[in-house]
Structures are given as C-alpha cells and as structure tokens.
C-alpha cells in the first residue's frame, strides 16, 4: 500500500467541563487544553512551531492574538474558520504543512463558552439583513438553524421514505455511548437534561417537536467546551509518550444553495472520496466513525455521502443498533456521546479528532477492541444551505 505517514496526532485534551459558569474565558480554555495536550504528547510550548485556531476569544487578528497569548513564535499561523469543520481543515492543512517542512509540531486549539453566554444557537431565529448578499436574501424568512437541518430531513423522507424511527437510531446510539462516558453524563447533568439514561427509539420520536420533522432528542446540546490536538512530524512522533495516530488522508469541500440543487447530498460527497482515495481505504473498512452530530439527519446524510451506504439507503442501513460500539455490521459512531449527548459548544470538529485518536490508542470509554481505522468528518455551517466539510482518515500505528 502506498499509504503516506507524513504526520500524526500525538497529543490530545478535551476540557472536562461543559458548564464553566463564567469562571474561565475561551482564551484561557484554549491555553489550558494546549498545555495538557502537549503534556499528553511529552512535548512543551517550545516545541510548537505551527498554530491552528478557530473559535472565540481571539478577535479580528486571531492568529496574532493566539501566538502572543501562548508566548510562541510560530512559523505557520492558520486561522481557517469554517465553523464546525474548522479543525478537520486544520488537521488536513497541518499534515500538508508538516510534509512540506514548514513546521514540525502543529497545535490546534478551541474554546467556547456558548452555554454560559446563553447563546440560543438552534432556535435563535436569524438576525436582520446583513451586508453579506446571501444573508440579505434569507433573513426575512425566520429560518432557525434547526429548521435548516429539518428541511434536509423532510426532503430525505420525501425522496427516500426515510422515517423518524430510523433517524432516532443516531440519537439512541450516541446516548448509549454517552452513558458510558462520565464526562458526558456530568455534561447532561450540568446542562439540566431531564431523565438522563439510555434512550429508546420511542423516547426520541415521542420527544417534543422543535422543527418538523426533528424532535428535541435529535438536536445537539449547547455546552461550553474546549480542546486541543497536537499533530507532529514522523520524527517527532516517534519520540512522543503515546503511540502516534497517523493522518492517512484528508478532503475539504464546500456546498451552498444552487437553483435546482439537491439538499440531501452534502459537501461530504466531495471531501469523502478525496480523503478515502488518499488513504487507500474504503468506508467499509472503518472501525470508528466520528461524524458531526449536530442533528440526527446530519449523521444520516453524511454516512451516505461518505460511502457507508448509497444515497437514500441510510435509513434502512442504520437500523438495528449497529452503530453501537459493541455491535457488528457498521462502524462505532461517536463513541464519546457526540454533540447530541456529550459536547457541542458550537464548533465540535476538534472533539471528532480527539475521540478518534482515543479509540486508535485504546483510551475510549466505549472502546472498540480492534480499532485500527477511523474517519472524522466535520460539517461546518448549515447542512440545508451553505456549509463546509472536512474529512480526515486516521490510522493506528
């Protein structure tokens, strides 16, 4: 196999709390996570020569803010901001920068206090018109973020006969994993989830409708949260404390409304094949699928687009609980509990990389014994209109 091993994840950290009660800022969270991730790798601040950051706290010149705040003199500064997929883009770009010799140790950081700020991300409606032409056309209609995704689900149901019961499989699988992850259980308690337990299909479809056809238990939480990932060259990775998790392939893409376009197909249909081809593997070989679960429909559409099954067959494909870590027939989905039940501060992309790395190191709370290959797919923006997609294929050493 001509698989390249140009760069590896060598350090990870997820901020443990999802409700910081205003006691730590996003910038402070980034620094805390960065330090812990560097320790996890056996590296120090002085080793970092590339910074990759998105999220809150850095202002208009984020790259400059972060370098100074961390006290670094990096030679690569990357602040690509494409919402929830930013960190998959960062991982892809870090791999290229390391392969090109522009840096050896890339530090990815994220911090957000969306919960503490009481940002009504999902149901906030949309603001008045803006000087961005697309938003200036859309804002009057009152489309909430959840309704945007709901319109994908409606069209998916219309074209392919997908049911709410099938979509609920996504929610029950992620909750199953969340209940095994103490930090996820704590998160649900801190965010005042009612009746915290494993859920059934009936629980999901009988929960309150937020925007037809999406029910409450098909929608992600809004938490505080932060994380950091350290990506290093093979030479550095060989001397780190933990086994390297290799970045085998990457793909980046965008999608936006087009006259006559198909909203059931996402940008993953473009980024996925590029990433799998580079890695020389297929979706069917994936042990772990860390797929951005903003909503149930997001995962269903992305699984199809990534090639786990054909477009339109996702509903039948996810039936029977096969996405649970202890079941066969499909990859283990979002084994940390996902955005639905563990951590969603607005841009979840970094946690997809972190949990995929945990699995390939053997450190997950829902560990797949033979995990060798994982896909992390971030979707940023809005599935039903304009969004960016980053696909990262990871392999154990």
């Amino acid at each position: 196999m001509s698989q390249k091993r140009d760069a590896a994840i060598v350090g990870i950290h997820e901020y443990p709390s999802r409700d910081v009660e205003g006691e730590i800022s996003p910038l402070q969270m980034k620094a805390e996570c960065a330090a812990r991730a560097l320790e996890d790798a056996g590296l120090t601040w002085a080793d970092v020569d590339g910074i990759y950051d998105a999220g809150d706290g850095g202002g208009a010149m984020n790259g400059l803010t972060i370098a100074e705040y961390f006290g670094l003199k990096p030679t690569v500064i990357n602040t690509t901001g494409v919402g929830g997929s930013s960190y998959e883009f960062h991982a892809a770009q870090a791999k290229r920068d390391i392969a090109a010799g522009k840096c050896k140790v890339a530090l990815l950081t994220y911090g957000s206090t969306a919960h503490s700020n009481a940002r009504a991300i999902g149901v906030g409606g949309r603001g008045a018109g803006s000087m961005h032409p697309a938003e200036n056309m859309d804002a009057f209609a009152g489309q909430t973020l959840i309704a945007n995704y709901a319109m994908v689900a409606k069209r998916h149901m219309f074209e392919y006969g997908t049911t709410s019961q099938q979509l609920a499989e996504i929610s029950t699988a992620t909750r199953y994993h969340a209940m095994r992850n103490p930090e996820a259980v704590q998160a649900m308690e801190d965010l005042e989830f009612l009746d915290i337990r494993e859920t059934t299909i009936d629980d999901v479809v009988n929960s309150r409708m937020i925007a037809d056809p999406l029910h409450l238990l098909e929608c992600c939480m809004i938490s505080d949260g932060g994380g950091a990932v350290v990506i290093a060259s093979p030479e550095v990775a060989r001397n780190c404390k933990k086994p390297p998790v290799w970045i085998l392939g990457s793909g980046e893409a965008t999608k936006y409304p087009e006259n006559g376009g198909d909203i059931t197909t996402s940008a993953a249909a473009q980024s996925g094949p590029i990433a799998f081809a580079e890695a020389g593997v297929t979706a069917a070989e994936m042990d772990i699928a860390m797929i951005y679960d903003s909503f149930s429909i997001t995962v269903l559409a992305l699984l199809e687009d990534l090639g786990f099954c054909k477009k339109g067959e996702g509903g039948a494909w996810v039936e029977g609980g096969k996405l649970r870590f202890d079941q066969s027939g499909g990859p283990a989905l979002n084994t940390d509990g996902g955005g639905l039940s563990s951590n969603h501060p607005g841009m979840r992309g970094i946690f997809l990389l972190i949990e995929a790395a945990r699995q390939l190191r053997g450190e997950s709370t829902s560990q797949v014994a033979t995990a060798k290959l994982a896909v992390a797919h971030g979707n940023g923006g809005m599935l039903g209109s304009r969004h960016a997609a980053g696909t990262i294929i990871l392999g154990a050493d």
């Binding site: 409606g125 018109g129 000087m131 032409p133 056309m137 009152g142 069209r155 925007a211 006259n259």
Partner: protein, 139 residues
C-alpha cells in the same frame, strides 16, 4: 415611568446591499426580479454583479411569474426571535420558482402542518414602507 413598548417586526433586508439592491428595489413595484446571463444562459439567484457560469457574461434582469413549487420545508415550533416567537408554528421553505430561482421564504394562508413538498404556490407580497417581502401561498 411608562415603558414604550416596541412591537417586534419581521427582520428586513438592507435595501442598499450592493449585490441584492436591484432585487429589493423591484419589490417596491411587486416585481420578483432575477438575473440570466445573455452569453451562457445561466440563471443567477441570489443576485450578483458577475456571472458564475462564464467569466465575461452579461447579466440581464428578468421578472418571474411568481408561480413556484415547494422544494422542502419545515414547521418552526420554537423560536426565541422577538418577531418569529409570536408566529409559531409557521412554515419556512425552500421554494423553486418556475423560471429557476430557489428562494428561502414562508408559505402563508395555509396551516403550516398542511404544507407539502411539491405544493404549487403563487407569490404574495407582504407590504412594508421601504420595500415588500416575497412570501408564497398555495394556488
């Protein structure tokens, strides 16, 4: 001290936004304007200054008939927006005009639950001072 109560209104577009100002100007005359390239024939919507189909295209403004079809929709049951929170449940939809443009709008004059994909629609104008808002109802 009596508080002046401000009634929440629908968020309105900025009439002076560069790319879309011609569209919003047209709504004053209750015209649904869209662009088509005279070179490559591509329909452009939302409006732009340049053709996305060819690099030297000339865009021509046209007026749509207003006949349209629901491509997809959702019934919004929860919103914290000061205007829309009082409107729930309401139908938000991607709507395909017969001439090609797809627009995000609301389906009105029908119970939100009764909206369907494929439903045939006609244009309705919600009147405001500076411009009018294109909404749709079943035909």
């Amino acid at each position: 001290m009596s508080e002046v109560k401000k009634v929440a209104t629908r968020p309105l577009p900025k009439a002076e936004e560069f790319d879309t100002k011609e569209f919003w100007a047209g709504t004053k005359d209750k015209e649904f304007r869209y662009q088509q390239c005279t070179d490559c024939n591509k329909v452009i919507f939302y409006p732009r200054r340049h053709c996305t189909g060819c690099t030297n295209g000339k865009l021509e403004w046209k007026v749509a008939s207003g006949d349209a079809t629901v491509y997809s929709y959702s019934v919004v049951r929860q919103s914290y927006h000061p205007f829309f929170r009082n409107l729930v449940p309401y139908a938000v939809a991607w709507i395909d005009l017969d001439e090609g443009p797809r627009i995000l709008s609301n389906v009105i004059k029908v119970a939100a639950e009764d909206v369907e994909i494929g439903m045939k629609l006609k244009l309705e104008w919600e009147e405001h001072e500076e411009l009018n808002i294109p909404l749709f109802s079943p035909r």
